[in-house]
C-alpha cells in the first residue's frame, strides 16, 4: 500500500508541500538550526556567483573606463588641488588625535565601538524581487559570525560606519543581512544632539521603493525637525550607540498622539559592495530588544 501511495503523484505533492510548510514554521523559530542546510548550497553557489559577478563587473568596468576617461582627466586636476588642502587638514587632524587620546585617558572616556570586533565582508547577492529582499555577504560561521541565543544578530555598517542593517542568519561561508529599508527591520534611535529624543526607526513597504524609513514612537514633547540626524540609541543592546542612521526628510504632525517622520538612510544599499559586521566582544552586554520582527516602540 505504501508503494502504491508513493506512486501516486498527488500524494507526493501533498507530502512535499507539508514538508516545506514544516520547514517554514520551524525556520521561524529563533535559533533554529534549519539554516545549516543552506551551507552546502552556499558552497556550490558562491564560487559560481563570484565568477559571474566578477565577469559582469569586468565588462561593466571596461565600458565605463572608456566613457569615464575624459571625466577622469578633469577630475584629476581638481583632485590635485584638494590634495594640497587635505594634507593641511591631516596635519591638523594628527594634532587633534593626540589631544583626544590625552583627554580620553584623563577623563576615562570609552570609544563607542572599541569593544566590537569588525569583520569585513563583500556583498554576494542582492534582492531577488520585492518580497525576497535580504542580501547575502561572504562572511559566515567560518569567519566567526555565528547566530546564537546570546547573540541573535549583529549590526552591519558600511565603510563610513553608517547603519546598513542586521545579520539575519548565517551558514558556514555566508550570512544574510536584513537591510535597514526592509519592512521587518526595526531599531531604537535618537536625535544626535545632547539629550536628543529617543524614537523608533523601521522599514516600511510603502517607503522602501523611495529609499526611506519610517520614524515613530516620537515622544510627545520632543522637538524634531527636518535635517536632524538620527543615530542608534544603544537601547536594546544589539546596535551600539552612536552609529549614524540618516537624516529626517519629512515630519507628519497631523496626529498629536501619533507623530511620524521619514528618514533618509545615509547608506546607499543598492550601491553597496562591501560592508562590516560588528560582533560584540566579551565585555559587551547584549539583549535582543532591537530584534522585533514587526515595528514596535523603541526597544
Amino acid at each position: 500500500m505504501f508503494r502504491r501511495l508513493l506512486a501516486n503523484r498527488v500524494f507526493i505533492l501533498v507530502l512535499v508541500t507539508l514538508l516545506i510548510v514544516a520547514v517554514i514554521f520551524f525556520d521561524s523559530v529563533t535559533g533554529n538550526p534549519v539554516h545549516v542546510i543552506s551551507t552546502p548550497v552556499s558552497l556550490i553557489v558562491d564560487p559560481v556567483q563570484k565568477v559571474i559577478r566578477g565577469t559582469g563587473n569586468k565588462v561593466g568596468d571596461f565600458f565605463s573606463a572608456i566613457s569615464d576617461g575624459m571625466k577622469i582627466r578633469e577630475e584629476n586636476q581638481k583632485l590635485q588641488e584638494q590634495v594640497a588642502e587635505l594634507q593641511y587638514q591631516v596635519q591638523q587632524g594628527e594634532v587633534a588625535t593626540r589631544r583626544w587620546e590625552e583627554l580620553k585617558d584623563a577623563f576615562h572616556i570609552q570609544d563607542s565601538f572599541e569593544n566590537y570586533d569588525i569583520y569585513g565582508a563583500s556583498v554576494l547577492s542582492r534582492e531577488a524581487d520585492e518580497w525576497f529582499s535580504v542580501f547575502r555577504v561572504d562572511a559566515g560561521t567560518h569567519s566567526g559570525i555565528s547566530i546564537t541565543e546570546k547573540n541573535p544578530s549583529y549590526a552591519v555598517v558600511d565603510a563610513q560606519m553608517n547603519l546598513v542593517g542586521r545579520v539575519l542568519s548565517t551558514d558556514l561561508t555566508s550570512s544574510k543581512v536584513m537591510p535597514i529599508l526592509h519592512e521587518g527591520f526595526s531599531v531604537s534611535a535618537k536625535v544626535n544632539s545632547v539629550n536628543g529624543a529617543v524614537v523608533n526607526v523601521h522599514g516600511e513597504i510603502e517607503l522602501k521603493e523611495k529609499g526611506l524609513c519610517m520614524v515613530d514612537s516620537i515622544p510627545e514633547r520632543a522637538e524634531l525637525k527636518v535635517g536632524d540626524e538620527l543615530v542608534t540609541s544603544g537601547k536594546g543592546g544589539l546596535f551600539p550607540a552612536g552609529i549614524p542612521i540618516g537624516v529626517i526628510v519629512s515630519i507628519d504632525d497631523s496626529s498629536a498622539l501619533n507623530r511620524t517622520a521619514t528618514v533618509k538612510p545615509y547608506s546607499d544599499i543598492s550601491a553597496l559592495n562591501d560592508c562590516f559586521i560588528m560582533v560584540p566582544g566579551k565585555d559587551v552586554q547584549t539583549d535582543s530588544g532591537d530584534l522585533t520582527g514587526t515595528p514596535t516602540p523603541a526597544a
Binding site: 543552506s38 553557489v45 559577478r53 534582492e127 539575519l168
Partner: protein, 201 residues
C-alpha cells in the same frame, strides 16, 4: 524526469540534468547579482520564476515542479528571510505552468509568453493578498500599499519585465534544451496519436 512517456538515453539524461543545473545556477545568480540591470519601475525581472513557468509549460508537471522546488530553495538561500517560502511558491508556479494552456495549445513557443503573463499575474496577486492578510507572518505591520500602488508600481511593471525576460528564455529552452529538439516534436507526435486514440473511443 521523463514524465512524458519517452525514455531518455543515458547521454540525454546527463545532458538534461547538466543543463537544468547550469540554467538554475546562472539565472538565479544573474538575478541576484545584477538586479539594477534587470529592473523597471522598481521591479526586477524574475528570471527564476519565468524559467520555472516555461519549464513547466514546455516539459510538463514533473519537470516544472522539481525545477521549481530546487530553484525556489535556491531563491530562499540567496535572498529569502524564511527558508521554504520560495521553494513552495516556485514549485506550484512550475506545476501550474504545466497545467494551464499547455494542453490546449500544444505547448507552442509563442504562447509561452502568455503563460508567463498569467502565472506572474497569479503569483503577484497571491503574494500581495498573503502580505495584506497575514502581516504578522510576513513581518510587516498592518499598513500596506494602496490598490493603485499595487497595480501601477508592482504588478504591471513586474508583468512587463517578466514578459521581456521570457523571450530569450523561450528561445533558450526551445533551441538549446534541456532536451534535444526532437524530443518535443517526438512527444507532440506521440500525444497527438494518443489524442486520436482517445477520440475513437
Amino acid at each position: 524526469m521523463t514524465q512524458r512517456g519517452i525514455k531518455l538515453s543515458r547521454n540525454d539524461r546527463i545532458r538534461q540534468l547538466a543543463l537544468y543545473a547550469v540554467y538554475i545556477l546562472i539565472l538565479s545568480t544573474v538575478q541576484v547579482s545584477f538586479p539594477q540591470y534587470l529592473s523597471f519601475r522598481g521591479q526586477t525581472a524574475d528570471l527564476m520564476l519565468v524559467f520555472v513557468i516555461l519549464v513547466g509549460y514546455f516539459f510538463g508537471p514533473l519537470d516544472g515542479a522539481v525545477v521549481g522546488l530546487i530553484t525556489g530553495f535556491l531563491r530562499d538561500v540567496l535572498s529569502g528571510t524564511t527558508l521554504g517560502i520560495g521553494a513552495l511558491l516556485l514549485m506550484y508556479a512550475g506545476l501550474f505552468g504545466s497545467l494551464i494552456l499547455s494542453g490546449k495549445f500544444h505547448r507552442r513557443a509563442v504562447l509561452g509568453a502568455l503563460q508567463v503573463f498569467l502565472i506572474t499575474l497569479g503569483y503577484k496577486v497571491i503574494g500581495h493578498m498573503i502580505r495584506y492578510f497575514f502581516p504578522l507572518i510576513m513581518e510587516h505591520d498592518s499598513v500596506y500599499l494602496s490598490f493603485r500602488q499595487v497595480i501601477l508600481d508592482s504588478i504591471l511593471p513586474q508583468l512587463a519585465v517578466n514578459l521581456v525576460a521570457s523571450v530569450p528564455l523561450i528561445l533558450l529552452l526551445t533551441y538549446l534544451g534541456p532536451y534535444r529538439r526532437g524530443y518535443i516534436r517526438q512527444d507532440e507526435d506521440q500525444r497527438s496519436g494518443m489524442e486520436e486514440l482517445w477520440r475513437t473511443k
